[in-house]
């Protein structure tokens, strides 16, 4: 029996369209602008990439800015967004996530790009049907499994595997 966890990396940037994504985009940008000033008190740099390359400790910005999206993550009710089973329903539960800043700029919000990596709970990978994974939550009920068929869409990957 293979037990896997999945990771979905949800990228959010200026082209994101849903209300939730827009709120994450705007609030994480505002927080980035505030927090990055601590790492560049002489205002030498504009871009997140420059801070990471030149300022020791600037990688803490991933963690520091993540507080701006905590409330939005909670609003997801532990359900990974966008990832649907073959019946068109969201079903993947997460308890762990990691926020990351991909790019940003102090002066240009359109350069702001973040990602939230959602890590699924443990799943049993029973079989592969056509291009879909046949998976179930680990809990067995009445000797049969409640299964889902899932296609690996872009940005969705198998994170851990236990054979």
């Amino acid at each position: 029996m293979k037990v896997i966890t999945l990771c979905y990396r949800k990228v959010i940037d200026s082209s994101s369209e849903t209300l939730w994504e827009k709120m994450v985009f705007e609030d994480s940008y505002a927080e980035f602008r505030m927090q990055s000033q601590y790492f560049d008190q002489e205002k030498k740099y504009q871009h997140f990439g420059e801070l990471i390359q030149n300022v020791p400790g600037a990688e803490r910005l991933h963690f520091l800015v993540s507080a701006s999206v905590t409330g939005y993550i909670t609003q997801l009710n532990s359900l990974i967004p966008d990832v649907l089973d073959n019946q068109g329903r969201r079903f993947l539960k997460f308890h762990n996530y990691r926020f990351e800043i991909i790019n940003s700029s102090m002066k240009d919000i359109s350069k702001h790009q973040v990602a939230i990596n959602f890590f699924s709970n443990k799943l049993v990978w029973h079989d592969t049907v056509a291009d879909q994974l046949l998976i179930s939550e680990e809990i067995q009920q009445d000797e049969s499994f409640q299964t889902h068929l899932l296609k690996l869409i872009p940005f969705l990957s198998i994170d851990t595997l236990k054979v």
């Binding site: 709120m23 927080e31 762990n96 990351e100 872009p154």
Partner: protein
């Protein structure tokens, strides 16, 4: 009519070619790798822009479920007065007043004040070595908080008395911003020392004071000869401590 159909076919072909490109792009399989250097390089922006998880999933089923939950505006989780988050230690209330030197040193209203300090063992909240965050999202940013100054320039935080770590005296970090988030001042608050002081009473929690760095040897506080950065700290271990300080900014 024919022309329209041709145009549609062309468009379909174009969309298909885009899809093939997107699906075969290695970024799909690399997506969850934490190669920070590659991700952070500015020139990768166009590569990661090729698909946000939703827009490239058009070859799978569309969402077919009841709408919701509906998102609501949610402030940063820093915005709270009690920053304890279940951390144990002697209770401490921190009262920080922000004064404006450009306005007769009167209290500055509406400023944002961030504070952060270490726990009783001397550790800060931050991402650890593991890739994942704990299940309790709310406690991830323990001992970090943000408040908005009142009409007198005052903010109040409820926390625990900080521990200490190698090379530093007991301290609290402070970052003061204008209401629009522009930085006004980054500073640190020092604690009074000597017999009967809170630092002496707490005695470094379980660590003791062996190897402790006092203010005069601290690389941040050693040049603070007038004690401007040293707060007033009263109280006891049983009753809890109260810290107060007035910090001046040019706003």
């Amino acid at each position: 009519m024919y022309q329209q159909t041709d145009q549609r076919m062309e468009r379909l072909g174009f969309i298909k070619s885009l899809l093939v490109g997107a699906v075969s792009a290695p970024v799909v399989f690399e997506a969850c790798k934490k190669d920070a250097a590659a991700e952070l390089a500015e020139d990768t922006a166009s590569a990661t822009n090729t698909g946000s998880g939703t827009s490239t999933s058009s070859c799978t089923v569309a969402p077919t479920e009841t709408e919701g939950p509906f998102p609501t505006k949610s402030p940063s989780s820093y915005l709270r007065s009690d920053i304890t988050d279940g951390k144990t230690g002697y209770a401490m209330t921190a009262k920080i007043t922000i004064a404006n030197v450009n306005n007769s040193c009167l209290g500055l209203a509406g400023a944002l004040v961030d504070i952060w300090h270490c726990d009783a063992e001397g550790n800060y909240s931050e991402y650890g070595g593991t890739q994942m965050q704990s299940t309790n999202y709310q406690s991830v940013h323990f001992l970090r908080g943000r408040q908005v100054t009142d009409t007198n320039g005052l903010v109040t935080f409820k926390s625990i008395f900080p521990g200490w770590y190698q090379g530093r005296a007991t301290h609290i970090h402070v970052h003061i911003y204008k209401a629009d988030g522009t930085s006004l001042k980054v500073t640190q608050i020092a604690f009074p020392e000597g017999s009967g002081s809170a630092v002496a009473l707490v005695n470094g929690y379980s660590k003791g004071m062996s190897g402790y760095t006092y203010n005069k040897s601290d690389n941040v506080f050693s040049d603070d000869s007038t004690g401007l950065q040293i707060a007033s700290v009263t109280g006891s271990k049983a009753e809890g401590f109260e810290l107060s300080i007035r910090l001046s900014v040019s706003a």
